[in-house]
Symmetry: C2
Subunit: 398 residues, 2 copies
C-alpha cells in the first residue's frame, strides 16, 4: 500500500531532525565529529550507576520499580528533582513538578498543551533545533528574536511580542545550543517581567547550566517568575547520563496538570528504573563530585578548540563565540553567501571532520553561513586535528 | 497568570485518562481493587532483571547504554523484538521495526503520523480507553464497530468503512481490553483482506497474547498482511515488566520512518537501559520459563473471579465474558439504565471494592451499564471477598 495521501498534515512533509540524521552518516570511525551534543563517553558515571542499580534491584522496593508508576513521576525524584532545580534558584512544591523522559519531552508536552496550528512561538535566533522540529509537529510557527552577545535582545523581544502575540517564548538561558551564549542577569529579570506583562508563557530550558567554566552562576529566569508564567525544564542528560532519558519540569500547577494529561497519552510514565537511579544519584551526593570531575575536562576540550580556532581558522572570514560553559561553539561567516549546507558532504569527505550546518537552528530558512562545533565528543588531539583540517578547507573554499 | 484562554484545542477540555485518575482515589490499602491492569507485583522477574543489569553495567558496553542512542532503537533489541513478534507469526526486518516507550507509544506515534483533526478511527465497541484518550489529543473521531463473542463484527466493519472512510482501525486481537474477547482466526484473515481492499491502516495491539489460559494460540492479523497496511504493536509490560516502559512496533518501512520522525520529537529514544535489559531477558531465554510461571497464576486468579461471579453475582441482571486469557472480565447489565459511573464512589465507599465503569471504553458517550474487572492485581482471597461484596451491592441497588 502507498500511504502518500494518508499522512497527517503535521508529519506529511516533515524531515527527520537534522542532527539525528547526520549521525547515521558519521558511522565511519575515521571521522572526527564536532556534530552532535553527546557528553564525553568516558565521563559517564558507570561505577556509581552500577552501585545504585545493584541496591535498587536488591531491596524490597525493586518490585515497585518494575511495576507501573504514576504519570507525574516517582515521588522521591520529584523531591530530589526540585532540589536539583533549586541550584538555579527555582522554587516549587511537588504539585509544581513533573518527571519527563528527557528535557526534550518538556518542550513537546508544553507545545501539546498550548500550540494550535498557526500559533506563534518566539525563539532566540538561532535556537535549539529540536525545539523547531517539535514545533513543526504541532504546526506552530517559530519567530526568531535577535540575539546579542549576552543573549536575547530585549527590545526585539518586546517588538516581536507586540507584533506576533506569541503564546510561548522558548529560551536556553545558560550556554545556549547552538551559540554557547549566556543570558545576562539583567535580561533574565527583564524577560520575566516583560513576559508576565504581556501574558507570554516562557519555556526556560536549562540542560547545560552546570557545565560552567568561567563567570558567575546565574539564577534562572524562573527564579524571577512572580506570575507563574515561566516553565523551567531541566535534564540529567548532560550532568548524569542521557541514555536514561530523564528530566524535570517545574511550573505552575495548572500547567503541570495539562502536561500530565498529555504525558498520560504519550508514554504513561518515564521508566521507573531511570527515575530511581537518578534520584539515588542525587541523594547519595554524587552530583557535586561528578561535576568537579567533568567540568574541567569539558573546559580543557573547549580551550583546545578555542586555541585551535585562533591558531588555524581564517578569523577575518569567520567569527566564533567564546562560551563560558556548555558544549558548543558557534561560527558565523562574514560572507553571508558562504553555504555550509551545500559544502557539507564535500567537506566531511575531504577533511574527515564533521560540523553541523547552522541553517537547522534558525526559525527562517536560507541562513546558511553559520556552523556549530561541539567539543565534548572528541579528544583534545582530534579537536586540534579537526579544526586544522576544517580551517584549511574553509580557507580554500570561501 | 490564568491560562484558560491559552490551552490548545486538543487539550483544552480533555480530562485525564480515567484509569490513571482512579488510581489516585485508591490509595486506601483496605480497598480491593479490580480497577487497573497491573501485572501481579510478586510475579515481576526481579531476580533475572537484577542479574542482567549487573552484567550490563559491568561490561564495556555499559558506557554505550548510558550514552544517547538511536531513535529507531537499540539494534540488538530490534532483532530480539522481531523474534518476540514472530511468536505470533509476525515477520519483518530491522527496517520494519521500531522500539517504543511502552506499547501505548505505538498508538500515539501512529495517530501523530496519520490523524488530522476530524479524521475517523474505527475501534471495537468497547475498546482500550487509552486509545480513545490518545485519539482525542489529535482531535480525531473514534467510531465504534459492533463486537460479537469472537470479536469485531465483520459486516459492521465493512459498513463503517464505507460510511466513514476511516484512516485507521485499532484493534486488540487477543483478550481485548476491556472485554477479554479474542478475535477468531477467520476474522483475522477477513480483517487483513478487507482493510487492504479499502486502504485502511490497522493498528493491531497485542499486549496480552502470551497470557493465554485455554484455547489455541492464533497468528496475528499482521501475519496475513500482504499489503503492508497492518502495524503490529506489542509490549513487554505484561510479559516482563511495565516499569521499564518498552515495546516494539513492526510495520511497513514507510510507516516506521514516519513514526521515527515523530519519536525524534517526543522522547529522542527509549531508555537504553530498559532496552538492553529487555533484550538480554529475551536472549537469555528467560521469557518462556517466566510465562510458564505467571500464566497459571493468572489462570488461578481468573478462575477464582469467574467462580465467585457464578456463586454471588445476580446473573439474571448482569452478563459477564469468560476470557481465554489476558487480565480482564467484562460485565454488562441487561438494564441499560443501570449507571455504573453514578454509583462508583458510593459503591467503593460501601463495598471497599473498586471496578472500572465501562463508559470510558466506548467511542460514544452515555453507555453507563457496563464495568470492567481486573483479576491480576488482587489475591484469590481478595477476589472472592470483593466479588461477594460487589454482588451484594448490585443486588441491592439494581
Amino acid at each position: 500500500m502507498d500511504f502518500e495521501n494518508m499522512w497527517s498534515e503535521r508529519l506529511k512533509s516533515l524531515k527527520g531532525n537534522a542532527i539525528r540524521e547526520i549521525f547515521k552518516l558519521l558511522q565511519n570511525p575515521e571521522i572526527v565529529s564536532f556534530a552532535g551534543g553527546f557528553p564525553t563517553l568516558g565521563l559517564l558515571p558507570q561505577k556509581e550507576i552500577k552501585e545504585i542499580t545493584d541496591d535498587l534491584l536488591t531491596g524490597e522496593g525493586a518490585l515497585k520499580i518494575l511495576q507501573y508508576g504514576g504519570t507525574e513521576g516517582y515521588t522521591p525524584l520529584l523531591e530530589s528533582g526540585l532540589k536539583y532545580a533549586s541550584r538555579f534558584g527555582v522554587k516549587g512544591e511537588l504539585k509544581n513538578t513533573l518527571v519527563i523522559s528527557g528535557g526534550q519531552q518538556g518542550i513537546d508536552l508544553m507545545f501539546k498543551a498550548f500550540i494550535n496550528p498557526g500559533d506563534r512561538v518566539l525563539v532566540e535566533n538561532p535556537t535549539y533545533l529540536a525545539c523547531l522540529h517539535i514545533l513543526k509537529t504541532y504546526q506552530g510557527v517559530a519567530v526568531g528574536v535577535d540575539s546579542d552577545d549576552d543573549g536575547l535582545n530585549i527590545d526585539d523581544l518586546e517588538a516581536k511580542i507586540k507584533k506576533h502575540q506569541p503564546k510561548i517564548l522558548y529560551i536556553v538561558s545558560d550556554f545556549s545550543n547552538p551559540t554557547g551564549k549566556t543570558l545576562s542577569l539583567e535580561k533574565r529579570k527583564a524577560i520575566a517581567s516583560l513576559t508576565a506583562k504581556y501574558g507570554v508563557v516562557v519555556i526556560e530550558d536549562n540542560p547545560y547550566g552546570e557545565i560552567r567554566f568561567s563567570g558567575e552562576k546565574l539564577p534562572a529566569i524562573k527564579s524571577f517568575d512572580t506570575e507563574g508564567n515561566v516553565v523551567y525544564v531541566t535534564s540529567f542528560s548532560k550532568t548524569i547520563a542521557p541514555g536514561l532519558r530523564c528530566g524535570i519540569a517545574v511550573a505552575d500547577e495548572k500547567i503541570i496538570r495539562k502536561m500530565t494529561i498529555g504525558k498520560q497519552a504519550v508514554d504513561v510514565h518515564t521508566s521507573n528504573l531511570s527515575q530511581a537511579i537518578i534520584d539515588e544519584y542525587l541523594r547519595r551526593g554524587y552530583l557535586e563530585p561528578h561535576l568537579k570531575e567533568i567540568v574541567p575536562v569539558y573546559k580543557t576540550k573547549k580551550d583546545a578548540m578555542q586555541n585551535a580556532i585562533e591558531k588555524y581558522m581564517p578569523l577575518d572570514k569567520i567569527k566564533f563565540t567564546n562560551p563560558e560553559g556548555g558544549l558548543f561553539i558557534w561560527g558565523e561567516f562574514k560572507d553571508k553567501s558562504a553555504d555550509l549546507d551545500k559544502c557539507f558532504v564535500d567537506c566531511v569527505t575531504k577533511t574527515k571532520t564533521a560540523y553541523v550546518a547552522g541553517s537547522s537552528f534558525f526559525a527562517d530558512e536560507g541562513i546558511n553561513h553559520c556552523l556549530r562545533f561541539n567539543y565534548s565528543n572528541a579528544t583534545v588531539e582530534q579537536i586540534e586535528t579537526g579544526i586544522k583540517r576544517l580551517a584549511a578547507y574553509f580557507k580554500e573554499n570561501f
